[in-house]
Symmetry: C3
């Protein structure tokens, strides 16, 4: 794996939350919190990255995560270019790197990369020049580090602590980069119990999510939870599995008001979006008082500002 830190220990890339210390995670959350604004307030504005160029490389350009990163960079004063690129190894690796080197020679200071295939952000990070940073915006089913940070920030805002918390992640754990990054963050930050809940075929292999409690019964999985993180059911990730029937899935694993009552009375609900209402979550629950889903979005742009402001070196401007 590519090292994410510089020789002086500072964060250079953000490819995964795995291996970050509790102190490093907390510093990122603290910095993000400074960028959080209440609903209805104007967005935070800074010139911290004036003169910096950020390239968004997304295989699908019209995603909300792309907009979140774009606004994060612009609100720090950076220039942003958006490219729709086929970065995966379906294209020959050297061609992909030629594209990266070209952008680097255009004085791009940070790459934000989303790819359906695992390995691409790390490959790029291993080859760029020392002053360039790489941020993963979602890497196959492997990692989605800014999502993990925004999940942690949302929990911290609502629960004011991690220790003692019971967190249940429900859904297609096996294919979920969201679950992996949440697991890395929350384990390090010291939650009391992390549960992964889903049908047996969608639970991860035994070599992953060590220390997590596995449940194939959602009622057992939700009982006395402080945080319920519902995952999006992504049929496209489940090739080789029986095609899921939405209604049947909802019967077995959908989060309903009745099931939610099994969790703590002040449990909060997270979802990475976009939601399949009526598949993994009932609409009244998604929109109900325990839902922190819109907070997650608001925290997302704050987290991305914090990460960009942390990794990009601004002292070497000429």
């Amino acid at each position: 794996m590519t090292a994410q830190t510089r020789a002086d220990g500072s964060l250079r890339h953000l490819l995964t939350l795995e291996g970050l210390s509790s102190r490093e995670l907390t510093q990122l959350l603290d910095r993000a919190q400074e960028y959080v604004r209440p609903p209805g307030a104007r967005a935070p504005v800074s010139r911290a990255l004036a003169g910096v160029t950020v390239a968004n490389l997304f295989t699908e350009p019209s995603t909300r995560t792309r907009v979140s990163f774009e606004l994060a960079a612009k609100r720090l004063g950076a220039e942003v270019v958006n490219l729709e690129l086929q970065l995966s190894s379906r294209v020959k690796g050297e061609s992909m790197l030629d594209t990266i080197f070209t952008l680097e020679a255009l004085h791009v200071d940070a790459f934000v990369i989303r790819d359906a295939e695992a390995g691409v952000p790390g490959l790029v990070a291993a080859h760029v020049a020392p002053h360039v940073s790489v941020l993963s915006a979602g890497e196959g089913s492997a990692a989605h580090p800014t999502q993990g940070l925004l999940d942690a920030l949302t929990i911290r805002q609502r629960k004011h602590r991690f220790d003692g918390l019971v967190v249940a992640i429900v859904g297609d754990i096996r294919h979920s980069r969201v679950a992996r990054s949440a697991c890395h963050a929350l384990t390090t930050l010291g939650v009391a119990e992390l549960r992964v809940v889903g049908p047996a075929s969608l639970l991860p292999g035994d070599d992953e999510f060590r220390g997590c409690v596995r449940h194939t019964d959602i009622e057992a999985g939700l009982r006395d939870a402080d945080v319920v993180m519902m995952l999006r059911i992504q049929r496209e990730r489940m090739e080789g599995e029986a095609q899921l029937d939405g209604a049947a899935y909802f019967d077995s694993f959908g989060l309903t008001a009745a099931r939610l009552r099994l969790a703590k009375p002040d449990a909060i609900i997270l979802h990475p979006q976009p939601m399949n209402r009526g598949v993994e979550i009932a609409s009244d629950v998604a929109d109900g008082p325990q839902s922190a889903i819109r907070d997650q979005v608001r925290n997302g742009v704050a987290v991305r500002m914090a990460v960009l402001a942390t990794v990009v070196r601004t002292g070497d401007s000429t």
Copy 2:
């Protein structure tokens, strides 16, 4: 219909020109006029919306109207994000609103929405938080309010009044959001006579365009007009009608130099563009001295600046 105004009577959204008072329309035109620059001059620049974020949601991204809104927002100092989104009810309404709520949580202050389906801008306006504004950039065949304003502004610049004017709108009135918004604006602003001119199958139902004079003969429709507004023939809007033959349409309803002589000698010609030259309008007329078509474009960016500067609340910045 969604209310467009706040409790204090100020304009919050712009979904339609229907119901706006002559005073409200005149204030918008006055403000737009301040942003008008002569051909060849540098664009107007302002910081009135610094710190504001505007999201352009267009189902087709490469339209001139999108660019006009994008430049209007940028020239006021706003950040702009462009998204190509399928917003219509073909997608489940709740999914569409989830997308809107996500963008709202990213501190988007104003949505500019174009959709082929009527109802979408109003649906969004009915659900966004109080500090968020929605501008229609063209809604099915129902409304295109900034187009109506730029038409009115262009007429005012050339004719210096509305009272006493005879305005002929020619073409596919039935399917035209441009005609509807022009009708709303010009009727309220007090033109003497508004005519709708076209083949019987393309004239509107009797419940619409009340007070307008209907003509199926273009010569009669043009006689002594001060303003001739030609509409674009949009075959894609005419499902269920006989497929139009361009040359035959031009014979019956195309604006030629000979026909233009039926209007007042100083009559001006408007067209919302893009033009089908040789179908609804002859090239020499489109490019002739009576054409105000390029003025319309220039006025379009000024009108959009005025509308954005009017609806977006800038006092609540934090």
Copy 3:
């Protein structure tokens, strides 16, 4: 051909390097050099074009040249709009010009146009208003003037002169706008010998590249060269030719380390990118110490800044 200069002799458009004097080329190179920054440095930033609007009109939006022009304009403080447009005569000429006039009326000050078809940038330049500039970003196989400038700048940085140099351009000369623009620049700047090297079917007609030495044998073509410019093999340009076999081409005309040893020991290698590694160039050569390919990219954004800053009139701001 459309005149590129204003009545006072200043450069207004950049459609081709043909006809520019050595002094004009040198002034552009000098200005570009001011914008060059070393690898790893922050990009140059200027407010020279604050208030100016640049429209990028590309038929394919996700190209590196588009990003290079976009960053060049933004780093001068200009607003940039990107449009994916079908500008060629496949669309009726008048419709294309209507689009241009619309953008012009939106106070676009400069158009950057790439089109697969020759003639489009010149047609636009012939019709826009006097204050508007047109820059070609690649026109069919006819011209790619900013590429020619960046090639010349790269050579000047490495060789500190043009006189006395032997330059070999290798590949599909016949279909190459890169070769044509390089030929125009380097001939005017006074290189000693310009060679075009390739299979007979890909060499240009006798009425072009006058004064160049033609070689169908790559070894002869490379001998004692100071600069080796490899062209991209573009199969899509070669309709009517036998479909090229990549491996066979590499055998006959690919630049290998062994062949490179025929050139001068300090010869430099250029390539316009993207590279077909293993077709026109071996990977070890592309990444070797004699390669100046990344310098070309870095020089590309500097050249585009220099051209924009030169052609756009900034005195008439209002």
